[in-house]
């Protein structure tokens, strides 16, 4: 950094994972009926109700690949990646599971798959 203004700005490294890993465990349900409008997420490392407080309100995303290419905002090339966005609404039970509502209900094949819980809207 002792160099003068002639130095190029340091090449930006790609950022690391800026989301928390979570798993879609299922929909809210009673024994024999389920309500698909609310999903249950198990966030990695969160094991009690007190710990879920940080995640409330955070945006979450179910990212998946499809066969057909679709246009992507901000990119020229269309891509196969698709997202369903949602947000963490409240905690569920005592063991750190969390409820989330997505813009479109999650497809059932997402069960057991990765959901990204982003760090925004940030409150810290």
């Amino acid at each position: 950094m002792a160099e003068t203004q002639a130095v190029q700005a340091n090449p930006a490294k790609k950022s690391g994972r800026l989301y928390c890993k979570a798993v879609f465990t299922g929909y809210t349900r009673s024994h024999r009926n389920q309500k698909e409008n609310t999903a249950l997420l198990k966030i990695e490392g969160v094991v009690s109700k007190e710990e879920t407080e940080f995640y409330l309100g955070k945006r979450c995303a179910y990212v998946y690949k499809a066969r057909r290419l679709t246009a992507c905002p901000g990119h020229d090339k269309p891509s196969r990646l698709r997202v369903i966005w949602g947000k963490v609404t409240r905690s569920h039970g005592n063991s750190g599971v969390v409820r989330a509502k997505f813009r479109k209900n999650l497809p059932s094949k997402a069960m057991g798959k990765r959901i990204r819980v982003m760090l925004y809207p940030s409150r810290i």
Binding site: M1, V7, A9, N10, A12, G16, L18, S122, I124
Partner: protein
């Protein structure tokens, strides 16, 4: 005719320069101040035996509560016409208790009319002007406060953890993952932030508080001066001027590539220079300079 709100008699307005000799302005009607109350001395408009107390008109209201004094009442929204006149000193009589209406020549309000028929007195007193059939519940309906505020008059909040000089972690957007220095909050509420550019490629930029994690690391940027022209207008997206449709060229798409203006480069350099000086003085400057992202 009574004031329908307060029940007090409606009093005719008398101008201050009335020729009536019995009339005295309120200012001349100070009858002995000398009381122990500092308040009445200050105003000088109270009789000594009237202690200032909470305005009864305003009891139960959340706004405009004040003590009962002519000075306060003159700006009170709740006062009736007689209160207003009394407080301005336009009423006859020095105390509100001795209000009396102005002597005027009255037109006859009641007229005697003959009626026919037997044994009914033959006459009736009939009003010249009939009483209205309908009275509104409030003479002057109080307008509800309009709570719509324009965006540029909104209250801007800033999290307590974010103060000028704080290192922030950007959590979304083009520069996600980068640690940047917070300079100040702009008028729209967005945060003005800089990399500095040489350290991590993030220029002078606006971001929303919600996409930012504030760390506990703070730099002392009291002496860092951000150029005044760096404000919301500066960062506003420039609308490209649509060219007039030439013949046969309606679908010509000339995408204007964004190029950094000289203004921005200047401001970036000036702010960064100051910031880098601050950073060099830090104990942990190696950490700052070592970061690659």
């Amino acid at each position: 005719m009574r004031d329908l709100v307060s029940g007090r008699p409606r009093v005719k307005f008398i101008p201050n320069n009335s020729s009536d000799p019995t009339f005295a302005t309120n200012k001349n009607a100070i009858s002995g101040v000398g009381s122990d109350s500092e308040y009445s001395e200050k105003i000088g408009l109270f009789k000594t035996n009237i202690k200032p107390k909470a305005c009864l008109i305003c009891v139960g209201r959340t706004h405009h509560t004040h003590l009962q004094s002519p000075a306060a009442h003159s700006s009170c929204v709740c006062q009736s016409q007689s209160d207003f006149l009394f407080s301005k000193g336009f009423l006859q009589g020095k105390s509100r208790n001795t209000l009396r209406p102005m002597p005027t020549t009255k037109e006859p309000t009641v007229v005697t009319k003959k009626i026919g028929g037997d044994k009914n007195g033959g006459e009736r007193q009939v009003r010249v002007k009939r009483m209205p059939r309908w009275y509104p519940t409030e003479d002057k309906p109080r307008k509800l406060k309009n709570h719509k505020i324009a965006f540029n008059q909104h209250k801007r909040k800033l999290r307590a953890s974010i103060t000028p000089g704080t290192i922030l972690i950007l959590v979304a957007g083009r520069h996600k993952g980068k640690r940047v220095v917070f300079l100040k909050q702009l008028n729209t509420g967005l945060l003005l932030v800089t990399g500095p550019y040489h350290l991590n490629g993030c220029p002078l930029r606006r971001i929303n508080q919600r996409y930012v994690i504030a760390t506990k690391t703070k730099l002392d940027i009291k002496d860092v001066k951000v150029p005044d022209r760096v404000n919301d207008e500066y960062f506003k997206r420039q609308k490209s001027k649509k060219p007039k449709h030439t013949e046969g060229d309606i679908f010509s798409t000339e995408k204007e590539v964004y190029s950094v203006s000289e203004e921005r480069k200047e401001d970036q350099a000036s702010v960064d220079r100051q910031l880098l000086d601050v950073i060099r003085k830090q104990k942990e400057k190696k950490l700052f300079f070592g970061q690659h992202n």
